[in-house]
């Protein structure tokens, strides 16, 4: 089991209903994509928030990563919708 801080932003945060949490992840969760799939098993709010997986952006330790990237060594993983800054 790996312990990781998760942070959520914008409508991902609103739909999950919290801005951050710390989770113990099973070792079967290797990639960012697998993390999304795992979170969706945790309850309806996660399922709603992460329904369209392909639009969810992932950052590990504050750097963007693709969904196929391994999350090993992550202290902080952020999930959020496409950015709309500027």
């Amino acid at each position: 089991m790996a312990r990781v801080d998760l942070v959520y932003f914008a409508w991902v945060r609103e739909r999950i209903g919290k801005a951050e949490e710390t989770l113990e992840l099973p070792e079967s969760v290797v990639t960012a994509g697998e993390l999304l799939a795992y979170l969706k098993t945790l309850g309806e709010e996660y399922e709603t928030a992460l329904e369209h997986e392909n639009v969810i952006r992932v950052a590990i330790n504050q750097e963007h990563v693709d969904h196929h990237e391994p999350i090993a060594g992550a202290r902080e993983i952020a999930l959020f919708p496409p950015m709309t800054g500027g």
Partner: protein, 151 residues
């Protein structure tokens, strides 16, 4: 290079001065100010959420890339967060270079990447008191970014 994420407004003239004052090697300074727009009068405010830490880190990466790519002499980027009213500033980018094209391209490049890869999200609050919705990312912003891809 100066990158700042802040709640308060910025002072355009002070930022340009900070970057160019006392130097004789700068030929061109370009500034880009992005403002909160509300043509229809239906918006009471934008609420800008950001990812503290990553926002600074990401904008710094974008600016460093622009400095190297266009040979900029100096860059400043300021992005506001929190509540922003129609007509107010959201973002400022300032670039300096010996010649005009590099300063224009550098500022344009930074804005294109800032739109699509800096962790900020805009929520609209309606003038009628409605809760408002999250602004969707635009395909045209992805296209604007992709035109900078090297072959």
């Amino acid at each position: 290079m100066a990158v700042r994420i802040q709640r308060q407004d910025f002072d355009l003239a002070a930022e340009v001065r900070a970057l160019s004052q006392g130097r004789h090697d700068i030929g061109a300074v370009v500034t880009f100010s992005g403002l909160c727009r509300d043509e229809a009068g239906t918006l009471s405010a934008l609420e800008l959420e950001h990812y503290p830490g990553m926002a600074e880190a990401q904008i710094t990466r974008i600016c460093e890339e622009a400095v190297g790519r266009f040979g900029l002499q100096a860059v400043s980027a300021i992005h506001r967060y929190g509540e922003i009213l129609p007509g107010e500033n959201i973002v400022l980018v300032v670039t300096a270079s010996p010649h005009r094209q590099a300063a224009f391209d550098g500022a344009s490049f930074i804005m294109d990447f800032l739109k699509t890869s800096a962790p900020f999200w805009k929520k609209e609050h309606g003038a009628d008191g409605s809760a408002g919705g999250w602004v969707s990312a635009k395909d045209e912003d992805d296209s604007a970014r992709d035109r900078w891809s090297k072959d």
